[in-house]
Each structure stands twice: as C-alpha cells, then as structure tokens.
C-alpha cells in the first residue's frame, strides 16, 4: 500500500525558526546570524560591532562553538549578556538550540541578538535559526575561490564581509571576481570590504546594519 505524505524533512527546524521569529517580533528584537570559516574573524567582527552598535541598542550574544568558552569570555568582559552554546561536535546551530537558550536572557532588556555560528562554510547555511539577517564573512587569506566552492552560504546571506582586507596585497585575492561570482549567486547581496584590525570599512557595515535594525524594531 502506498501512502502519500509530502512533508518537509526539515520542517521541525523551520517551525522552530518561525516560533523564534514570532517571539522576537513580540519582544521587538533583531537577530543577526554571523557565519564563516574558523579563523575568518567572526569574533573580532562581533566585538567591533558591539562597540559601535551598543551606542544605539542593547546587545546580547549567543556564542556557538563545538567546545569551550573562549569566545564567550571575551564578550563577557565587555559587559554584554552572553551565553555559550556548545554543540558538542555538531557542525551547525539549529533553531531548537536557540529556542532553548533564550530562557537565559531577559528578552525585555535586549534589542539585538548577535549569534556567532559554528566555524564552517557548509552546514550552518542550511538551518534557519530565526534570524533577521545573515552575515557571511570571508577573509582574504582563505582565498577568492570560496564563494564559488561554497555557494549555499553566499547565496543565502544578505551581507558578505570581505574581512582582513588590509592583507589583500599579500595574497592573490581577486575581490572583483569574488564580487561578480557572489552577485550571480545572489543578486541582492551587500558586500563590504572590512579590516577588523584597522577598522577600515567598518562604518559602512555598521550603518547598513543600523538601517536594517531600525526598519524592524521600534525604539
């Protein structure tokens, strides 16, 4: 006997992601999902974003890592509410993990939650976690072929940050090629050339995020 089913396999993740979106809509919270390879500069970018965005918003951070507390401790020193989410080997964060972790925050006292996803260019892209925006980081030393090799990450992100841009002269990194490939995967992607060390290009990124946040949350 054949039974017709037609059910989405990742439905549980989508349902959970939508539930988080509803909660954040009610609580007036904006969520940023930061993704990229290990060593791309996710934590450094988040630290810089906190320093700028905290002038306007109450920020909280969820630090995703396979193991350890190193990143969470950095953020904690900045006097920002932070919870470390250890995936214990898993390659990505799922919506359910975010949902469970929200109880550790006072959501009435938060405007923006920044999530640092697991360092990985593959799996995190496949799981919505209730975010309003996806920021993909690609650092210059990783090479200019990564957008081509990991298309899903860059075709589902609204923002692409080319990080460590101050090192461009040391690497054969063709940023024009990266830009044209990224636009063919994702015509609406916003690309920013940033150095988290020199802070070059950071203002433009902060302004773009600020505009996106202000469109959603009412202060």
């Amino acid at each position: 006997m054949e039974i017709k089913v037609v059910k989405q396999i990742l439905e549980w993740n989508e349902d959970c992601s939508n539930e988080i979106k509803d909660t954040f809509e009610k609580k007036n919270i904006y969520m940023i999902n930061v993704m990229g390879s290990p060593g791309a500069g996710k934590t450094s970018l988040i630290v810089n974003l906190i320093n700028e965005l905290r002038k306007y918003y109450k920020i909280a951070v969820i630090e995703g890592d396979i193991a350890g507390q190193i990143d969470a401790e950095k953020i904690k020193k900045m006097d920002i509410p932070v919870v470390q989410l250890n995936t214990d080997g898993a390659c990505h964060i799922e919506a359910m993990s975010i949902k469970h972790i929200l109880q550790y925050f006072n959501l009435d006292e938060i405007d923006v939650i920044i999530v640092e996803n697991i360092g990985n260019l593959v799996c995190p892209a496949e799981f919505n976690i209730g975010e309003d925006i996806r920021v993909a980081i690609l650092s210059i030393p990783e090479g200019d072929d990564k957008v081509e090799k990991y298309p899903l990450m860059f075709s589902t992100s609204e923002i692409l940050v080319l990080n460590k841009y101050d090192m461009k002269s040391y690497f054969d990194f063709d940023d024009k090629k990266v830009e044209s490939v990224a636009r063919e995967l994702n015509p609406n992607i916003n690309i920013f050339r940033v150095s988290n060390k020199t802070k070059e290009g950071l203002n433009e990124l902060v302004n773009a995020l600020k505009n996106a946040i202000d469109k959603k949350i009412k202060k």
Partner: protein
C-alpha cells in the same frame, strides 16, 4: 555532516504516519531532493540504516528522486536550468530571476504493509 539529523527527520515523519495509518512495515520511502537543498543523497541511505534501527522504519529502502534546479527570468520570461548556482538568465543576461525548482527536500510517499 548533518545527514544523521536529516535521517532522524525522515524517521519522525514515518513514525507520525504510522500512528495515523497503522502499518507494520515500511518497504520503501520516496524522497524528493532538489539540487539546491544541500543534501548529499548517497550518504542518507547509510545513515538511515543506522538511525532507523529499532524503529518502524528499519529496513526500508530510500528511493530518491533528484530535482534539477530551474529559474525563470523576470525580465524576458525565459526558463532554464540553473548550473553551479548561477542566477543569471541565459537568454538576456539579467540577474532579475526567480528560482522555480531545486530547493525541494521532502518525503513524498511511503510503500507500506
């Protein structure tokens, strides 16, 4: 690397159908997997064999239908296959296109006794 959690998703669907339709054995499960879904079909069966042990889905064969990625141009109306994730119209070169197929990832039907 998360094929295991995907196969758990498939098993959950089978178990919820079993509650509704009261079958005892699942012979095969038809899956539809789009090229843009990010899922690697070759591995799913192997993970499924492990994850389904002791469940009603144990022993079932996965029959996977791949769906090619397609797009339609909003400018000239041309429809074509998407190759290597490139969203550029092959007729007029516009980037103003929409994806019409390829993101599918669902259980289509079950063959049961």
């Amino acid at each position: 690397m998360h094929e295991l959690s995907i196969t758990e998703g498939i098993i959950k669907i089978v178990e919820s159908e079993a509650k509704k339709h009261h079958f005892n054995k699942v012979n095969s499960i038809k899956l539809v997997v789009g090229e843009l879904s990010g899922v690697f079909p070759q591995l799913i069966q192997e993970y499924f064999n492990i994850a389904s042990r002791g469940t009603i889905a144990e022993g079932a064969e996965l029959i996977i239908r791949r769906v090619e990625a397609r797009m339609k141009c909003n400018e000239c109306g041309n429809e074509s296959i998407i190759e290597r994730h490139r969203l550029r119209c092959k007729n007029c070169g516009s980037l103003n296109v929409r994806i019409t197929a390829g993101k599918e990832f669902y259980v289509d039907s079950l063959e049961v006794d």
